[in-house]
Symmetry: C2
Subunit: 127 residues, 2 copies
DNA sequence: CAGGATCCTTTACGATACTG
DNA sequence: CAGTATCGTAAAGGATCCTG
């Protein structure tokens, strides 16, 4: 993968566009927002709990997404010395700063279903 | 792809999580937010302009993403009867309701670079 | 100019099994 | 329980050529 210093901004008005690109590079994939949203709601979750909570995800994907998020300092992974071992995941302070984004996305999702989805209910446009 | 009536909500507190899932299903991929962000800034853009604006995207992907967005009524495609023909893309009213999300994402991206990126500058964590 | 057709490579994602 | 290994499919992404 190429990487050009996380889009070194240029024309100023492009800063905004590049910021969007940066953010989305970190939050890429079907699952990241969903995982973060769950952790925002439940504070701490273990692997199996996340597996149930983030519905549809498989163990491999979850594992990989959690590693991505941890590398970007958005979540913290804590191994508890229990037997058999358990692991807790929680948002870091930085992860919590995603709150406003998650809020807007959730808000829009709710509205979208109400105002727009019925328009294409009979078509396949949302599939 | 399966589809279960766009996650018919259940326990109430899960509405929020499911709304996130719904939204992200419509806005999947690396490019959608980027495209919408560009259209939000420039009002109207032609295919070639988008190709330049959404940096890194190829013609095939752009074409496909634009179709997705149009199917979901987020953008409008207008063919102008010029010669050679030109096409304009712009946000619909519904597309414009994504404004707050885009704003938060852009805002976070700017902050993220300032506060967090330098922490992992020497590692590969963002690659 | 706006894109579709084709071909090919690389990730993303998923199901099943297996280990500390 | 918390994952990794392995295998396989489906999309993403790129290059080149082609058409209205």
């Amino acid at each position: 993968m190429k990487k050009e210093a996380l889009s070194s901004s240029s024309s100023g008005c492009k800063t905004r566009i590049l910021a969007i690109k940066d953010t989305m590079e970190i939050l890429t994939g079907k699952w990241k927002f969903h995982i973060i949203g769950s952790l925002m709601l439940f504070e701490k979750l273990r692997f199996m709990e996340l597996l149930r909570e983030v519905d549809g995800i498989g163990a491999k994907m979850l594992s990989k997404e959690l590693q991505d998020l941890e590398m970007n300092h958005l979540i913290r992974r804590t191994v508890l010395n229990t037997k058999p071992l358990t692991v807790e995941y929680e948002l870091t302070d930085c992860g919590r700063t995603l709150g406003p984004i998650i809020d807007e996305i959730a808000k829009w999702g709710i509205t979208y279903r109400k105002t727009l989805y019925h328009k294409s209910e009979t078509s396949e446009s949302l599939v």
